[in-house]
């Protein structure tokens, strides 16, 4: 009962407060055009502020969807690019060996601080993934699929001692194996480049395409420095374009002529 008797005056006081303050604001607005614009301007500013904040928040939650949309679009463009390359090569010659298709995948797990780093992707055998397929991004080679389950695949990262990718210098076309020395995840070593080849800092390094794993001409990195190794070849330090610490979306590369090529290799005595 006491609560009720105390609540009613409090409620009426609040209502009275609102009525008096509203009346005051109406009086201020009616008092002059300037005041009206001030108050309406303040309301508009407040609305704009709230909208900006809520928009930022909603954008934050839409990043995932937006990323997936962009990744799908990127995948489609990669497919079109591969088809265009085939078409061009068909025009130039009757021989076409570059027929790759791509499967988009999210990185579930990724390590960069071990000597043999690995990734786990959310695509598996039911998506057409097989062991031995390459994994790339538009900024470089990421790794090679090592094991596959129905929904996931295990990838040995290029950041693993002993892993190599065949790479070439964009200008001269000189190629050699590129591997990770096991220290800086931003740098790899391109070896067996002949000493007479001029390699300047900043020169771009691409995948050579001399394998069934990675398609040619994927940019890998740029030359930082070169030094003569074993007296007969150069060893180039390459700064990678790919940021391995920030990998989220990759493409699993399927070479559509892989079985044919491998059987050809095996048939050669």
């Amino acid at each position: 009962m006491n609560n009720r008797s105390g609540l009613l005056p409090a409620l009426t006081a609040i209502i009275l407060f609102i009525v008096l303050e509203s009346l005051s604001i109406v009086l201020v607005m009616e008092s002059g055009v300037v005041q009206r614009f001030r108050i309406m301007g303040a309301l508009r500013n407040t609305q704009a502020w709230v909208w900006t904040r809520t928009s930022n928040i909603s954008h934050f939650f839409q990043y995932r969807t937006e990323n997936e949309r962009l990744a799908a679009e990127n995948l489609m463009l990669q497919q079109q690019l591969a088809e265009a390359r085939i078409a061009l090569q068909s025009v130039d010659s009757c021989f076409s060996d570059a027929d790759f298709s791509y499967i988009g995948a999210h990185v579930i797990k990724n390590t960069v601080n071990q000597q043999r780093n690995q990734l786990i992707l959310d695509r598996g055998s039911r998506d057409g993934v097989e062991p031995g397929m390459g994994v790339v991004t538009p900024c470089g080679a990421v790794g090679i699929v090592s094991a596959v389950s129905p929904r996931y695949c295990y990838v040995i990262s290029m950041l693993g001692t002993g892993q190599t990718v065949s790479a070439k210098l964009a200008g001269s076309g000189a190629f050699g194996p590129m591997s990770w020395p096991g220290t800086d995840p931003d740098q790899m070593l391109l070896q067996e480049i002949p000493v007479h080849i001029q390699a300047a800092p900043g020169d771009t390094v691409l995948t050579s395409g001399f394998s069934t794993i990675f398609p040619p001409d994927i940019p890998l990195g740029s030359v930082v420095e070169s030094k003569v190794s074993k007296g007969s070849s150069q060893e180039l330090t390459i700064r990678l374009f790919e940021e391995f610490r920030a990998l989220h979306y990759v493409y699993i590369v399927k070479n559509n002529h892989r079985q044919e090529l491998e059987s050809l290799y095996e048939s050669v005595p």
């Binding site: 005056p9 009275l16 008096l20 005051s24 301007g41």
Partner: protein, 167 residues
């Protein structure tokens, strides 16, 4: 307590506020306001409704009689009047028993009285300056004006409060 002297004191302070509003211009950074003193000196037995209505009337009267914007002082006065009882219980008398009819500096003591006056003046000026300067002035100016006005108005209110002891 003589009610006539009390009413006369109210009228004098109100007229002084009117004169200050119309004729005293210290700086664009300072708004001198002693109307919160009148809100403080209303009888403690008054309900919040009554305090708000009287404060609204005082503010509106000041707005109408001075050359200002109608509604500005009314808005600020209600803003200061609404939490007066709560502020009194928090800052002066926490046992919820009003022992005096009117809060007087000499009886209440300097510290609680000063806190009450400062709180009411700050509330009043915050509402007044925000409504007056909103969207027209930078935040730094509004804050500076609020601080300077609160200091000057509170000091003037304290000086005027000294005369209340002779009532």
């Amino acid at each position: 307590m003589n009610p006539y002297r009390n009413i006369l004191y109210f009228i004098l302070v109100f007229l002084l506020q009117l004169a200050i509003t119309d004729y005293l211009y210290l700086s664009p950074w300072v708004t001198v306001c002693i109307l919160p003193l009148l809100i403080l000196l209303m009888p403690l037995s008054w309900s919040p409704h009554r305090v708000m209505i009287v404060a609204f009337a005082l503010g509106l009267g000041l707005d109408v009689l001075s050359a200002g914007v109608v509604g500005l002082n009314a808005f600020a006065a209600v803003m200061a009047a609404a939490p007066r009882r709560m502020l009194y219980r928090v800052l002066v008398n926490s046992d919820r028993q009003d022992t005096t009819e009117v809060l007087i500096l000499r009886q209440a003591g300097f510290e609680p009285y000063f806190k009450m006056l400062l709180a009411l003046t700050a509330l009043y000026l915050a509402a007044f300056i925000l409504l007056d300067c909103v969207s027209l002035r930078p935040v730094g100016f509004i804050l500076g004006k609020f601080l300077a006005s609160t200091v000057v108005s509170t000091l003037l209110g304290l000086v005027l409060s000294l005369s209340v002891k002779n009532r």
